[in-house]
Subunit: 437 residues, 2 copies
């Protein structure tokens, strides 16, 4: 019977993320916050703690291997759709700016994170201090992307800059991690890392050419009119590139998925393929992803020392990204408000920071009692980013942006109406067809 | 790096099932056969055996827990959509007929299966013989449903009879299994089993009322126009009922999912919800389900005795269902051809038979060397059912059926065109919106 409990877990995750999302929208918060809250509520941090103190039993929806894998698939699909929605010309235009933003956004957290460690424990080793700094560098762009999509700001200059910076940030963070693990005792092979990253870019180019050719060939030869093969092949490309990025090139899988999305965006039937992943995302994978983040959190026991350290690390993680990336944006000519928006969009941390922290613990470079504060830092950054992003974009004087949002909203409504129309027509035809039987 | 291989497995499964499906359609076979073949090819039975004999290494896409769970979700979604597509009035009309068909379709395989065991091993115990018979009783309706959908025959009288019979067959099979495991040493509590089954029907009625009320309330109060909550809540209902069926009532999870589908079909926005599950099914879950069946197969070593027994069990499993169910259909007034179609639709075996056989082995009632032939029986039944079903419906003189098929086919085309039209409009609006930026 145990084997069927994942069905109930999935059911609770779907219902609670939806209900919490609706509630948080009513409260003028981004839906993403609601989805995260749902995960937190049903995780060991809240429900587990409540039931333990009340009944002496620790009850919560435990993350099984299935749920965490489906959450991984969720991140991959989110990044894949983000790639499909990326305006490549805009991204190219934002590339240089993104690099400056990302570079300062890695430098400040690295330095300030290490500094906090020295303040709280003057006898800390250089490696340990710099490793905690490295944990703070990894921006998790997926939540920012979801929030920006919801606000209709994904295709703005600010949105593209954040995306470009986050992508470059991932690569810089990777180099950073390689260096610190290298210093920390592993074998550091910096030329190999660079060669692999270069190889990945070549790989993306080759895959783009091959996929494009294959799709054009398929367009020519197909006798019957069957569109299903396009989304299926597109998804296969996404999965392959995510796997290859991680396993063959040592780059994060989500970067591979994002690159696959960009390839599809400029290939035949790109728009059609993009439209199909909306459903699979909101109906299954995205709720699981958000809930899973909350489910993985267990709160540490608190002393005043731990509390102080937690506050310090949270504040530093926010300030350092906000200031570092904002400064980068300002240097590149963005105005004050835009720089604030960009800095804010980069504050969000996520699974990468968790993974780096876990690696630090296993290498004995991060103390186990520091893991709790780091997890709280990730949650706080994840929750405040979409909230403040929404505020930062609210009442924006930039008229083009507002119009765009309105029109996108109306477009959504219109599509719903057209969809309803189709189902009406379909059911009419169905009645005509079977009615007489 | 191991942890990322499921991405590659998923990629290969998506690509190979799609390519094999296209090929099998070119060869005038149902696409389902192609999807199954793809799984078989990449499983231990073919690719594993080839690489082992050539290179001494057993290479194949192993079914991980993730893939098998996703395959389970796939079955649940297939049965859920089948439920949403069920014409309840038709099913009611087919209920009595379905019962007769199911009853004879359980009786014949049970008796003939046991008889085969006595022929091949006269010293076999009664329990063992009857257990092998029980393995032969469980019809797997999901593949027949997929094949009938593909042929556009799901909503015909024959289709509804097969569905009704298969559903009742599941319940009869359950009782049958309870009895034989009871005889075989477990505790038999027949009244409890019947009470639970009755309880399940009450549960379905209550859930139907609750869901209907909740949806009508939601329809009334919702201020903004957001349709996404409907598919999400529908899927949550499906998962909950699948879980409850299995864990609370001891009925198969797919019966719960099917009942949830029927509830949604008669609730507000039912048509809209149904349309959303097509994508999630063909893009992720259905390919995994079909591939997983093939992946789980390992062929046994063959002696002439085993071969003879295999042939006998395969022939008996086909004949007994075909004859038993066909006889039932004839008794109820179907003509010869329709009775053949119904009998054929019930031949398909699947995961339930596998589960029962596994249980028999663990209870020492089925010898391990008999498991191979049983697996082969399941595969043969699974592959020939859709092939012969297609032939059985081909060139059907029944004109209503043909017209229906044509119209459904054209409707499918039309929907594709409307979809393309939407995406064209959408991209135009997109250009108008962002073009000026």
């Amino acid at each position: 019977m145990e084997g069927y409990n994942y069905l109930l877990s999935l059911c609770v995750i779907l219902m609670s993320t939806k209900i919490f999302s609706i509630l948080s929208r009513r409260a003028q918060l981004p839906q993403v916050v609601g989805a995260l809250m749902a995960g937190l509520f049903f995780g060991p941090a809240v429900l587990g703690a409540i039931t333990e103190s009340l009944f002496g039993v620790r009850f919560c929806l435990m993350p099984t291997q299935l749920l965490s894998r489906m959450a991984e698939l969720g991140v991959i699909v989110i990044m894949f759709t983000a790639g499909m929605e990326t305006n490549i010309d805009e991204l190219k235009a934002s590339g240089k700016v993104g690099f400056v933003v990302a570079l300062l956004g890695v430098f400040f957290p690295l330095g300030m994170g290490a500094a906090v460690m020295y303040v709280f424990d003057p006898k800390v080793t250089f490696q340990s201090a710099i490793f905690v700094g490295a944990v703070l560098t990894a921006t998790s762009v997926s939540i920012t992307v979801e929030a920006l999509k919801e606000l209709g700001k994904m295709s703005t200059k600010v949105g593209n800059t954040i995306l470009a910076a986050a992508l470059i940030d991932d690569i810089l963070g990777l180099i950073c991690l390689t260096v610190v693990t290298g210093i920390g005792g592993g074998d550091m092979n910096l030329p190999l890392v660079f060669a692999k990253i270069a190889g990945f870019f070549v790989f993306v180019g080759v895959m783009g050419l091959v996929y494009n050719k294959a799709m054009k060939w398929s367009d020519r030869v197909q006798a019957e009119r069957n569109l299903r093969r396009y989304p299926v092949m597109g998804f296969a490309l996404c999965l392959f590139m995510a796997w290859a990025a991680e396993v063959l090139f040592g780059v994060a899988d989500i970067i591979g998925a994002f690159a696959a999305g960009m390839i599809i965006a400029i290939s035949p039937k790109g728009q059609y393929i993009a439209s199909k992943f909306d459903t699979i995302a909101y109906l299954l994978l995205t709720p699981v992803f958000f809930a899973n983040i909350g489910l993985e959190v267990t709160l540490p026991e608190f002393s005043s020392d731990v509390l102080l350290f937690t506050v310090a690390i949270v504040v530093v993680s926010i300030i350092s990204k906000l200031f570092g990336c904002g400064l980068g944006a300002m240097v590149c000519g963005f105005d004050k408000r835009q720089s604030y928006q960009i800095g804010l969009g980069m504050v969000c941390r996520g699974e990468v920071a968790l993974i780096v922290a876990g690696k630090g613990v296993s290498m004995n470079l991060i103390a186990e009692e520091d893991l709790g504060p780091i997890i709280i830092m990730i949650i706080v950054c994840t929750i405040i980013t979409p909230i403040f992003l929404k505020r930062a974009f609210e009442g924006q004087t930039d008229i083009a942006g507002d119009t765009m949002f309105e029109e996108k909203f109306m477009l959504g409504e219109q599509t719903d109406e057209i969809e309803e129309d189709i189902f009406h027509r379909r059911s009419l035809l169905h009645q005509q067809t079977y009615g007489g039987e």
